[in-house]
């Protein structure tokens, strides 16, 4: 009897062992979070500044470098470059990071104290190199910039988004004239800017006109409808909207007889034949382009030489890009929420690396005509 019993026990043990051994359970990983390292060399791009540095590379000691983890909220670290221009971060989490520099640096040459900016995106984990280079530049690329786009609409339940605006900024040291310039909403482009959805134009003669100046450091607000949107409804659903009655310009489609027109604000008019909508841009993803107006034949797209600035935005980072990296290497507004009152604005006035992922941040409230703190 005992013999049979022992056999049965042995059999059950074998069955139990087989049952457990056939279960595939993940093993505990050997790597811990928070143990990664990243060393960044901060290099000043002196390509166009050779005369100031006698053709030598420039080292920038003691400047702050801000490292922001894009996977988790609130993981921001600041390090300072050493005498060799290196900054080292340790105890980092795995993930996707943006390192940024924005500092007024006191050069010991004719540049005096100038703004130095730059950003670099990279991953941190075991399979990427520990060292990397962050190239910074003295000031951003100059010129007229799309500085802010407010497209999300205010918090409301009636799908109101007619308080959209685009803010331009003169980031150059010279006066720029808006005469004849065009503002376009773009569709999905194959080559360059070959798919124009809307095209509105400033009055005046392109390039040579001198009627509508923008001084250096000046903001220009282009409103979809230049009115006070806070009181546009009888109920209180738009209390978080904005007052655009003092906008600098207003998009008006003269082919749309229902489009509101503030007589106190000059207009950009639609020049697309048969188009009967106001300049409305999407709340999820879209492309806004400004060009000098030499090419207004929208049927074959806008000539690349005439393009001044382009910004693509998208709420989702997994969206397919509508324009090539030549025009904008990234997206602004990833994570922005529809009908939230949020806006996207450059991190600094006119800051432009042609990568909107880096250049723009999301603001909780729009700032028409001025820059966020």
């Amino acid at each position: 009897m005992v013999k049979h019993f022992m056999k049965l026990i042995a059999f059950l043990c074998v069955v139990a062992f087989l049952l457990f051994s056939c279960m595939e359970v993940d093993d505990k990983p050997p790597e811990y979070e928070g143990t990664q390292q990243k060393n960044l060399m901060i290099r000043l791009d002196t390509t166009s500044l050779g005369k100031f540095f006698n053709g030598q590379s420039a080292v920038l000691p003691g400047i702050p470098v801000v490292l922001t983890n894009q996977d988790y909220e609130g993981f921001v670290r600041t390090g300072y470059t050493d005498d060799s221009g290196w900054v080292c971060f340790d105890s980092l989490l795995n993930g996707y990071y943006i390192a940024s520099v924005g500092v007024d640096y006191p050069f010991d040459n004719a540049l005096d104290t100038s703004r130095v900016t730059g950003q670099q995106e990279f991953y941190v984990h075991d399979e990427v190199p520990v060292t990397d280079t962050l190239t910074v530049r003295v000031s951003g690329n100059p010129g007229l910039k799309i500085n802010e786009i407010y497209y999300m609409g205010p918090p409301n339940k009636i799908f109101y988004f007619f308080d959209q605006f685009i803010e331009l900024y003169n980031a150059s040291s010279e006066t720029i004239y808006l005469d004849g310039m065009i503002v376009c909403r773009m569709g999905s482009c194959t080559i360059g800017a070959d798919n124009v959805t809307y095209i509105f134009q400033f009055p005046g003669e392109p390039v040579t006109g001198r009627e509508y100046p923008v001084e250096p450091g000046e903001f220009v607000v282009l409103a979809q409808d230049a009115m006070n949107h806070v009181i546009v409804q009888r109920n209180d659903t738009l209390v978080n909207s904005i007052d655009l009655s003092d906008a600098d310009w207003e998009f008006v489609n003269s082919q749309d007889y229902a489009d509101t027109d503030n007589p106190d604000v000059p207009n950009l008019d639609n020049i697309e034949e048969g188009h009967r909508r106001d300049f409305m841009i999407a709340l999820g993803n879209d492309v806004v382009l400004i060009a000098d107006g030499r090419d207004i034949n929208y049927a074959d797209g806008i000539d690349m030489e005439t393009i001044i600035d382009v910004v693509e935005y998208s709420s989702s980072s997994t969206n397919v890009k509508d324009i090539t990296e030549e025009l904008d290497a990234g997206w602004a507004g990833v994570g922005a929420i529809k009908y939230s009152g949020q806006s996207i604005e450059r991190i600094e006035p006119g800051f432009d690396t042609d990568n909107s992922t880096i250049d723009f941040i999301i603001l909780d409230t729009p700032t028409p005509g001025y820059h966020h703190e």
Binding site: L8, I9, E33, I337, K338
Partner: protein, 470 residues
Amino acid sequence: MNRFIRQLMFLLLIALSTGYGYTNSIGISVPESWNTLWDFDRHPLHFKTYNHSEGMNTVIYTGYKSQNIQRSFDPEAVFSYGAMFETYRKLNEKTALYAAIDFGNVWHKQQFRSIEKNYYATYIGFTDTTSGDFRYNGPLIDFFFSRDFGKRVTWGLGINYGVERGIKDVFTRAESRELNSDVTNSLRIRPISSLSVDGWFRRYHGRTALEAVKEYQDAQVQTWFGYLAYRMENPGSSVEMEHNKDGYELGTGLLLEKQDSPFSAYLGFSVGTEENDARKGKKSVASERGYWQRNTSEGQIWLNYKQAKASWSIFGTVINIEDWGKTGIYEALFFETDESRYLGGIGLEFSGIKNTRLDIMARAGKRSWDYRNYLKAQNLTREENEWRVSFDFDIHPFPVVSYTGGISAEKVPLHFTWDIPSLTCYFVQAGFEYQWGFNRICPTLVWGVENADGLDDKNTIWQIRLSVKR
């Protein structure tokens, strides 16, 4: 016959008791779990209402708990109601079965942001930006089957299956859908008449689908890793998430029970593993957010001494739980938790007074957590003593009427996610049983209160049950 039924029930209970602490069989005044209608770990309702004799039992119940002492993502109050029907039948001398269906409703009032039913039960949880009432409802089915093969072998099968749907009352209605199944196979072998050897294997699986939807603006979901770190998910008019759970447990036990001897003893041991993963997105394009694993081991011992008018029980249990988790993309360890629980106690069932039965139980122990979050480089440790005393009575002054009641006091150590170390809980239960024809009608009322040192707020608990046994 009574012995057979007792053994059978014991087997079924062992098949159910899967390593999550001793469940007092001497008579608990109040249920241990209130927030959930059902979960994997245990089913106190069914433990309590298990009928040791053949028959049917129909129960309607309602309960309310105000959670003035709460964590951030806990509801402010929980209201529940439901109905249960259960039956226990002995089909022949070798075969018995138990079946129950329980349809419950749980209403989480003002649940702040969490779209999880119990945010703190998982190391990877999802929240959105809405606060509102979540209403859950769904059926739970229990089925147990037992069959003797000869005099020395008994086979038991337990199946638990549940579906539940939860809807948040905030426009346009976030939703959770949960489906769980749990199967336990057990075998008892008696090599000699006074010794039984138990073995059981449990396999369970669960899937929870969550959907956050646009309310005032796009749904903004946050994925929390180990309670301390989070990432913002891409907003959308609807955001879908998913949890999957797989668990295995293996246990064995020895029961020593000599015929005509008042002494019996049980020694049991079990180990288990549970895998959990969390994903964001639709099934076809879901992206992994993380994985965590739980490994448990438990040992327990019971010693019973049963006489005509008094029965003694002494028990002890040791539980160790190790949890760890890794992130979804980089598969690096982001937390580790070591949890242990040591518990011992004594119980007395006394029926020396005419028409009266008394149950007294006391237990004490220690519980500890050591939690390390590597994303935030934080360490949370907690070590607290726990105890519980209870007194229950059952008086039969007349043939058709009996009165039941009980009181208990308990110190409950709180999970490391609480700001406070423990709660002190007091419960009172009262009811009676009336024989009406072939039926016995049993209304029961439970009232309780939970206090915390240094806090003015307290939680209050009500439960009303009406059961009809036949």
